[in-house]
């Protein structure tokens, strides 16, 4: 059983809030599987509308066929900006993508994009909804030090330790 973004957010609000924040910076990386079974990645901006998570893929991109053939995806957010409280927050969701063909859902996404001052979907873009099977987060216990104007992680002999959390839709 898979969850929509909204169902995930209702079940794990803190994870979802930080996840939303990190997925909302300009790019995230979407992984799909090519016909020959090799991995493919592409940087893109995830879309949120009506408590659902979407990606738009250009009509010319071979990735649209990846997801049509095998909907399994993995989406990874970029880390946050360096700061005094930097924890290298990693956010990853996995699940299945489904092609959206109805005009109403497309209009919903366009409305949400307009509300964030972003342009509408390109007319030949393929829209996929990402249903969520699992969300994984990792944070690192960095010791941050200020060097000039920059906060940087201090690399000690042991290195930082990760704390991982996994949320599963069917748990």
């Amino acid at each position: 059983m898979m969850a929509t973004w909204g169902e995930f957010a209702a079940a794990a609000p803190e994870l979802a809030e930080r996840g939303f924040e990190q997925l909302s910076i300009p790019i995230a990386y979407l992984a799909t599987v090519r016909r020959d079974g090799a991995p493919r990645l592409h940087p893109l901006s995830p879309l949120f509308a009506g408590g659902r998570l979407f990606v738009a893929i250009e009509g010319t991109s071979p990735r649209k066929h990846d997801l049509g053939r095998d909907g399994r995806y993995s989406l990874h957010a970029l880390p946050p900006m360096l700061s005094e409280h930097y924890d290298e927050f990693e956010f990853n969701v996995t699940g299945r993508a489904a092609l959206v063909t109805d005009a109403a859902t497309r209009a919903l996404v366009n409305e949400a994009e307009a509300a964030r001052s972003r342009p509408p979907l390109h007319h030949d873009a393929w829209l996929f909804e990402l249903d969520i099977d699992a969300a994984l987060t990792t944070v690192w216990d960095h010791t941050m030090v200020k060097r000039g104007d920059l906060w940087l992680p201090e690399i000690g002999p042991e290195g930082p330790r990760p704390t991982r959390r996994v949320w599963k839709a069917n748990a």
């Binding site: 979407l30 992984a31 079974g37 090799a38 493919r40 399994r72 993995s74 990693e90 990853n92």
Partner: protein
């Protein structure tokens, strides 16, 4: 399969953009295939040592088992200010000889401040293909991508659309 140096000799413009992005961020996103055939993506710290591309991987990271089983990878470096993109794909191979490991650990420390522990796995990333995208008229309405691609055994090609 080509090493980084062989790729750079065959397609110097592409490699130059890759090096620039690598030096700037020291961070890339690695795509691998899991046992069940689904995709995985993780951030990694790639670096170059003696003309070869390497990544150290934590001994708890599931992607190391992906690569051991099926070495096919794709690696995207973080895009630049004007969204320049660089990617390589090919096969990753586990490195077990101590001399290479030592050289790589020293280079990783120098390049990206890595502090390599003895239990980390080292993979060398051989390159079959590389591709770049840079944008003409970036930030303008008439923005247009210029894509370049190199594949082992063929000359560097440009395709713009």
């Amino acid at each position: 399969m080509a090493t980084w140096a062989e790729f750079a000799a065959a397609a110097p413009e592409l490699a130059e953009l890759g090096l620039k992005q690598l030096r700037k961020f020291g961070l890339g996103y690695l795509g691998t295939t899991r046992r069940d055939g689904s995709p995985r993506v993780n951030p990694v710290c790639p670096f170059i040592a003696e003309g070869r591309l390497f990544v150290f991987t934590a001994p708890t990271s599931p992607k190391r088992l992906d690569l051991k089983r099926d070495g096919r990878y794709v690696l995207h470096l973080l895009p630049g200010k004007e969204e320049e993109e660089f990617l390589v794909r090919g096969r990753a191979m586990l490195v077990t000889d101590a001399a290479t490991r030592e050289v790589a650990a020293a280079a990783g420390r120098e390049a990206v401040g890595l502090n390599v522990r003895p239990d980390e796995w080292l993979f060398e990333y051989d390159i079959e293909e590389a591709a770049t995208t840079v944008w003409e008229n970036f930030g303008q309405p008439d923005i247009r991508p210029v894509r370049r691609a190199w594949r082992e055994g063929s000359p560097s090609s440009v395709c713009a659309h």
